[in-house]
């Protein structure tokens, strides 16, 4: 596998079964590199003061992979390689089957989207949608953060459990979606420097929002309820969307998300 990364082999599209297998394998490995990179970024993000050089290099790698994937229309390629012809939900189901390594938790419930082919995968599992909802407190919170941030990247892809996929159409769109994901993920990493340096109360919209928060919402039930009904976004995604006025969330889910955010922030800061 290591050899795959040492040379930038350009795949050729031909009818040979071998080529398709190679393409699929390359895609797989590229995806796993992407997962690993995102994981590293997320772990960086949780450190108080990440090594900036390392973060930049990893983020650039993520961007490179994402650009290549978008350029290649790789979602399409993988589908073809596996014998599917359309972009229907069942094909997408097959896609993610291949890309997800099965683990002990293959019980039809929460699907673990694990990083592949590496020994010692212990922490390297990104929990998807449904599993997120059951995660609440304490030491699982980091996993929650992992899941939410990683999920914003995989948004276009991981709708497996529902059986209904958000049919986002062509590979290009997927690319753009993942582009946003990368931008968000990287923004979150570098953004921490700015958040820490920025003057408090610099964003009036956020200030106003936080002034509404009722302390009585700081309990488990509300949090759980809030999470299940809230749109599937991580705490920082939420802040971003508020800041850029793109969010269209309702008031009650606002509060719940804020509690979630608060709780996670507390854990990260370690208070």
């Amino acid at each position: 596998m290591a050899n795959m990364y040492s040379k930038g082999t350009k795949r050729k599209f031909s009818d040979g079964v071998d080529n398709k297998a190679v393409a699929a394998s390359y895609s797989l490995q590229r995806q796993s590199l992407l997962d690993m990179s995102l994981l590293k970024l997320q772990l960086c993000h949780m450190l108080a003061e990440p090594n900036l050089c390392r973060s930049v290099l990893i983020a650039n790698t993520v961007r490179q992979i994402q650009e290549e994937m978008a350029h290649d229309g790789s979602w399409q390629v993988v589908t073809e390689a596996l014998g599917g012809s359309g972009h229907g939900p069942s094909d997408r189901l097959v896609d993610t089957e291949v890309l997800c390594q099965s683990s002990e938790q293959q019980d039809g419930g929460p699907r673990l989207y694990s990083v592949m082919g590496y020994d010692g995968c212990r922490e390297e599992e990104v929990v998807t949608d449904k599993a997120l909802c059951s995660v609440v407190v304490g030491d699982r919170a980091p996993a929650l953060l992992l899941g939410t941030i990683g999920h914003c990247w995989d948004r276009g892809e991981l709708r497996v459990e529902d059986g209904v996929s958000k049919d986002s159409g062509t590979g290009e769109e997927e690319g753009t979606k993942s582009g946003e994901g990368a931008k968000m993920a990287t923004g979150q990493v570098f953004g921490t420097f700015e958040i820490k340096n920025g003057a408090p109360g610099s964003d009036p919209a956020l200030e106003e929002l936080f002034s509404d928060v009722d302390a009585s919402y700081y309990d488990l039930d509300t949090m759980l309820t809030g999470m299940q009904s809230a749109p599937k976004m991580g705490p920082y995604d939420f802040l971003d969307s508020l800041a850029s006025s793109h969010g269209s969330v309702s008031n009650s889910s606002c509060r719940a998300d804020l509690n979630e955010l608060d709780h996670i922030m507390e854990i990260i800061v370690g208070s």
């Binding site: 990364y5 040492s6 040379k7 900036l52 290099l57 990287t186 570098f190």
Partner: protein, 447 residues
Amino acid sequence: FVGVGGGNDFQWCFSQVKGAIDEDVAEADIISTVEFNYSGELLATGDKGGRVVIFQREQESKNRPHSRGEYNVYSTFQSHEPEFDYLKSLEIEEKINKIRWLPQQNAAHSLLSTNDKTIKLWKISQRDKRAEGYNLKDEDGRLRDPFRITSLRVPVLLPMDRMVEASPRRIFANAHTYHINSISVNSDHETYLSADDLRVNLWHLEITDRSFNIVDIKPANMEELTEVITAAECHPHQCNVFVYSSSKGTIRLCDMRAAALCDRQSKFFEEPEDPSSRSFFSEIISSISDVKFSHSGRYMMTRDYLSVKVWDLNMENRPVETYQVHEYLRSKLCSLYENDCIFDKFECCWNGADSAIMTGSYNNFFRMFDRNTRRDITLEASRENSKPRAILKARKVSTGGKRKKDEISVDSLDFNKKILHTAWHPKENVIAVAATNNLYIFQDKIN
């Protein structure tokens, strides 16, 4: 086997090793920087615990003309303490990132040491004489009653046990938002530069409350950040010239006479990428971890993950020499990315004559390249080869296929034993190699 750095009879021998023998390495003892002073008489090390240890070379003994003077501890002091930034809720590590000596101007020695945020100027002075026979005070320091003094005497200087004192003379703080990776003393001996991930500042050695920002590559929107500064150095002779390297494998040479803010470089050094070896790791392995001018000032050397390159300052489009440090790692880049070793920052150094260069590798190996003969050698810093004046045996990594006897296979390399910091005596063939918490000193042996 013929060594590197001198004539045909040249060989490297073990001289000394400093540090604990324990298998259990205390994190604070890990050496983070090594530097000889201008004469080579003093050798300073900094560690993760914020301590500086200075070794001094003993005078050569007439009895043993073949072995040079040994280095013994001269001074030890705590340079930096861990700090807490309350505003950002962040701990500032006390690890010494770099030490740079100042040229000696009087009996005392001075050096600059820095951690991630603060640079300190330390003066190290020694006393080996004391005065006795004062008129106005007793031997124990009590003031004498002036009316009791009936005669005058001249105090005399008597020898005493040598006492070495280190005192912080200047503290240059609060000028860096990001982590300081380099400091470099200018040839004017009045100024020095400090560089962090995004900025380079110019200081005057006498002024601590102000510094000039001469390079700023911070983008308006941090999300657009794709490149950071990895190292910077002043030109050894031209006090208006300095260089800084980046994470994208480029070096920019700037002239401070051109503008107050040197954001536009005078020269831009970059080697075009080889498209056939492009991979997702290309950028990471091109990131420059160290840049060093030659003593002559005509060349500079850069270290990236797999190689060392020598550049002629007059040629920007490619290096004049490229040396492969551990090319056998190219096929392992994915694993090295996974375990983060790919981000290790190796340093490099020139010998006094600029005829040889040295850099570290894994498994406690270090490599030396002779620029004239194009010969190279791999040596190991280990306790097994630590008999006094034992000649170091050349090591070899087998790159696949049959492994010969005495060779070590790539998979058996210990990636936790990395030699990131090495230093070469400015005039002689004496080298200092930091292997985690141990400092090895090797010398040449003339047959």
